[in-house]
Symmetry: C2
Subunit: 124 residues, 2 copies
């Protein structure tokens, strides 16, 4: 389960438009590094992409995108795996699933507590 520090890191990472869009970009997948299409030996999921391929879709410099990717990785919502001189990036679906569960549980508990223990009352 995600602890508080980890959740805050994730929220911070996604609370910036550029990083949010990079994450969306990684998550949606759809374009792989162009070179890989020629390389028969590179085994990657079609979701995988690499730093410079992502950077192509943004106006920002490569170092800026690299730094953002690092923050997304530290929040554990993407993975970055080095193969050769490139880094393959994929969404970390497990973390996203856990986060979804956290919100679900929160909502569920809230409603349960409210109904069973409190309800809307007039305080006297």
């Amino acid at each position: 389960m995600l602890d508080m520090k980890q959740k805050i890191k994730i929220f911070k990472a996604l609370g910036n438009e550029t990083r949010f869009l990079i994450f969306k970009n990684v998550f949606m997948g759809g374009y792989t590094c162009s070179i890989d299409k020629k390389d028969k030996n590179v085994k990657v999921s079609p979701h995988a992409t690499c730093v410079s391929t992502i950077a192509e879709h943004f106006e920002f410099s490569l170092p800026t995108i690299s730094k953002h990717l690092k923050e997304l990785r530290e929040a554990d919502i993407i993975t970055m795996e080095k193969k050769g001189n490139k880094i393959y990036i994929e969404p970390n679906i497990e973390t996203i699933r856990e986060l979804g569960i956290c919100f679900g549980t929160l909502v569920e508990n809230f409603e349960t507590n409210r109904e069973l223990f409190f309800g809307d009352v007039v305080i006297k």
Copy 2:
């Protein structure tokens, strides 16, 4: 449904430890404004609290807490309703529910796409 700007606002709001804890505090409820217990006419949910009551639980100044609460309200994850000279604060469960659904859908779609359309493949 929550649009992108709204989601980013929510993540930004929760991506700061103080605000995360304030939100948790509001969400967990448990303590109402002390004065309300004496006032038979104030109709509030037991989850409701007010700015100064929240501030009591933090080391930071009242204006700082007030500013953080404003940001949580602008992210639409809490509500603030003025009654008399106090402001009653409650979690906005609807927004949290929607956010949970967003993550759930994201995970679901990811898996569906992966299985139906791609699978892990070797790119040639």
